[in-house]
């Protein structure tokens, strides 16, 4: 069973805080406060943008209540102490009772939930875990239960983006938001809850523009992102993928290979094909790609980048303290800028390949 909050082993922070006052002002304007994750990923324009965009996202096709529950369950399944603690505290502020939260995280029978909601929680757990990853048929099963197809796509997107954020939290070993957790669990928190809820409901963060399928299809992993046509969240995904592949911190071929490795780990043919297209554009032959995917090595990679393929594979299924230790060791080899970029790519690859369940 998934670990509870106190059971998750959590290492020392891997990345220090990065000071960018202009960015902090922007974050405050958009989401109200600067989180510990925001401070530690601030040196990467695309990684920090995804983090802020997804925390300010409001669902358009699925109920807000399921959105909140889904974020908690996904963080728990991914064993992210940072996100799990923050989501749990946020739910307390929103007025969910301790016993309700506790029953969700213990996967206990929830009489308060109907069949559809229980099916949604099970879907969250299975997609986050992906052992094996759910498939298109699972999407159809949720639709058959009465969810709108767009709502199910938004659920898959929520979980995929949750997997992104959770991996950022885990791989940088972000220190938990203890102060926020303390307030949420305190008498003062309960007292101030209604006021805080009122302030939060008054804040209406700007949603990203909704792009059409043709625009979404244009770019890396366009086939996967296009499944989200009709949802503003699709723009977050597209901006993230475009930003990741446009960034010059790591070579484009390394990033495409990292996506291919995650695709192969999760057995996702669609994502592997998309990654191969990107590699072909970098003059990789089929044999070179096959060999890299067989051995997790490639003579085309520099010594500096060679360790990223075996490492990214470990970000799919992991034990939190082990992957944090492995990531910490990698910092010494490749430095802060490259590790943050690699963490962002690994997190995004895990999110994209999970989202590709909508296609196969």
């Amino acid at each position: 069973m998934a670990q509870l909050l106190d059971e998750i082993e959590w290492g020392q922070a891997i990345l220090p805080r990065y000071s960018d006052p202009a960015w902090e002002v922007e974050v405050k304007r958009r989401v109200g406060q600067v989180s510990e994750v925001d401070r530690r990923v601030a040196s990467s324009p695309w990684v920090r943008e995804v983090c802020v965009s997804m925390t300010s996202y409001r669902p358009v096709a699925m109920p807000q209540r399921l959105f909140n529950i889904g974020a908690l369950v996904t963080a728990q399944e991914n064993s992210c102490r940072y996100c799990y603690g923050a989501n749990r505290a946020y739910m307390k502020i929103l007025g969910y009772s301790e016993s309700f939260i506790s029953r969700i995280e213990r996967d206990a029978t929830l009489a308060e939930l109907d069949e559809k909601e229980r099916a949604f929680i099970s879907f969250c757990r299975r997609l986050a875990r992906s052992r094996p990853r759910p498939a298109k048929a699972d999407h159809a099963a949720l639709v058959a239960l009465g969810f709108a197809p767009l709502a199910v796509s938004e659920m898959a997107m929520l979980i995929a983006l949750g997997c992104y954020y959770n991996r950022i939290g885990i791989l940088i070993a972000c220190p938990p938001e203890h102060a926020f957790e303390r307030v949420a669990n305190s008498f003062l928190g309960r007292l101030m809850g209604p006021l805080m809820r009122m302030v939060m409901s008054m804040r209406q963060p700007a949603q990203p523009a909704t792009l059409d399928a043709a625009t979404l299809s244009d770019g890396p992993f366009g086939a996967v992102v296009a499944t989200l046509a009709g949802l503003p969240g699709a723009t977050i995904f597209k901006t993230a993928l475009d930003g990741a592949f446009a960034s010059a911190v790591l070579p484009r071929s390394v990033k495409a290979l990292m996506f291919a490795v995650v695709a192969r780990t999760l057995g996702c043919r669609t994502s592997e094909i998309e990654a191969r297209k990107l590699l072909a554009a970098e003059d990789f032959s089929d044999d070179e790609i096959d060999s890299a995917l067989l051995t997790l090595r490639s003579p085309r990679l520099s010594q500096h980048d060679a360790s990223l393929l075996p490492w990214v594979r470990n970000t799919v299924y992991y034990q939190t303290p082990v992957v944090q230790k492995q990531t910490g060791a990698l910092v010494a080899e490749i430095g802060h800028a490259a590790i943050l970029e690699a963490i962002g790519v690994a997190a995004l690859a895990n999110a994209t390949v999970r989202l590709a369940m909508l296609l196969e």
Binding site: M1, R106, D107, A108, R131, P132, R264, T265, L266, G267, S291, L293, L294, T295, L296, R297, Q303, A306, S307, P310, R313, Y317, Q319, V322, E333
Partner: protein, 280 residues
């Protein structure tokens, strides 16, 4: 002057309210009792599940306890790693039983860490031997490579442990590891209380025989051709003479894994080999 009928009516209403109130309180009390019982049951179930996870992989336990019915048996390509301590039975005769068990438990703890850090899990402990599986629970395209990396880490861990044993004037340990892969049936097998999650099929016998060949070839780590084909030139291998084994019509070709080198892969194994005195 008050109408006695009205008094009786008020009294009756008050009595009704009192009865209803008492009834509600009793129901609330009962509901709380039931909630407590449910919480205790849930806690016991969780405790049981966690205990059960010592005997079977967590994913399998969850499938069995999560109302998803029996774990459906399936055919999969799985890599099997057998490791056996050399001469430990004889050592047990000389050592205090508590010390022998402590040494064995420490050894298993270290080997388990090496195996799980490379995506494997220990499926079985038999005396001083262990069977680890790679790719039994989830799709793993790199299971051959993982098993060899795990074995190399086991070698390093054993060397470290032997240093500790030496410092305490305790006898050192030596092991033999055999690795092979092939299609097996994976599932929960057995009857009633004796059921367990395991694998069955001819490849498991081959893996066991290969482990036995480590004594014949006087090396600590042998792999079969199936595993060799998954490795690149980062791994330094030495081909061993084809050797006949029980139950196989043809002699088996095995490879001794010397070490791994290359970027990001420090040659820790060679260092460990020297510590073990295992270089043939």
């Amino acid at each position: 002057m008050t109408d006695p009928a009205a008094i009786w009516l008020v009294a009756a209403l008050l009595a009704l309210v009192a009865v209803l109130g008492a009834g509600l309180l009793a129901l609330r009390h009962r509901a709380r009792q039931l909630q407590r019982v449910l919480a205790v049951s849930q806690e016991k179930l969780e405790q049981l599940q966690r205990e059960f996870e010592h005997f079977a992989p967590a994913d399998v336990v969850e499938q069995l306890t999560g109302g998803q019915g029996i774990y459906v048996p399936r055919r999969r390509i799985v890599t099997m790693l057998f490791a056996d301590l050399r001469g430990f039975t004889a050592l047990c005769d000389r050592l205090d039983p508590a010390v022998a068990v402590d040494i064995l438990n420490d050894y298993f703890r270290r080997m388990n860490a090496a195996i799980t850090s490379h995506h494997g899990h220990i499926n079985e402990l038999v005396g001083d031997g262990l069977l680890a599986l790679f790719g039994a629970l989830e799709h793993n395209p790199w299971q051959g490579r993982d098993s060899v990396l795990a074995a190399l880490d086991m070698r390093v861990e054993l060397a470290r442990y032997n240093e500790e044993l030496r410092a305490k004037s305790l006898p050192e340990l030596r092991f033999g590891i055999g690795i092979h892969s092939g299609e097996v049936v994976v599932g929960v097998m057995g009857a009633g209380a004796l059921s367990k999650f395991t694998v069955t099929g001819d490849p498991i016998n081959v893996a066991s025989r290969v482990e036995g060949l480590t004594s014949v070839h006087k090396v600590d780590l042998l792999i079969t051709e199936e595993i060799r084909s998954t490795l690149d030139d980062q791994f330094t291998l030495r081909r061993m003479p084809a050797t006949a084994v029980k139950g196989k019509p043809e002699p088996i070709v095995t490879y001794y894994v010397e070490h791994i080198s290359g970027p990001g892969s420090p040659d820790r194994a060679s260092e460990a080999l020297a510590g073990l005195g295992m270089r043939p």
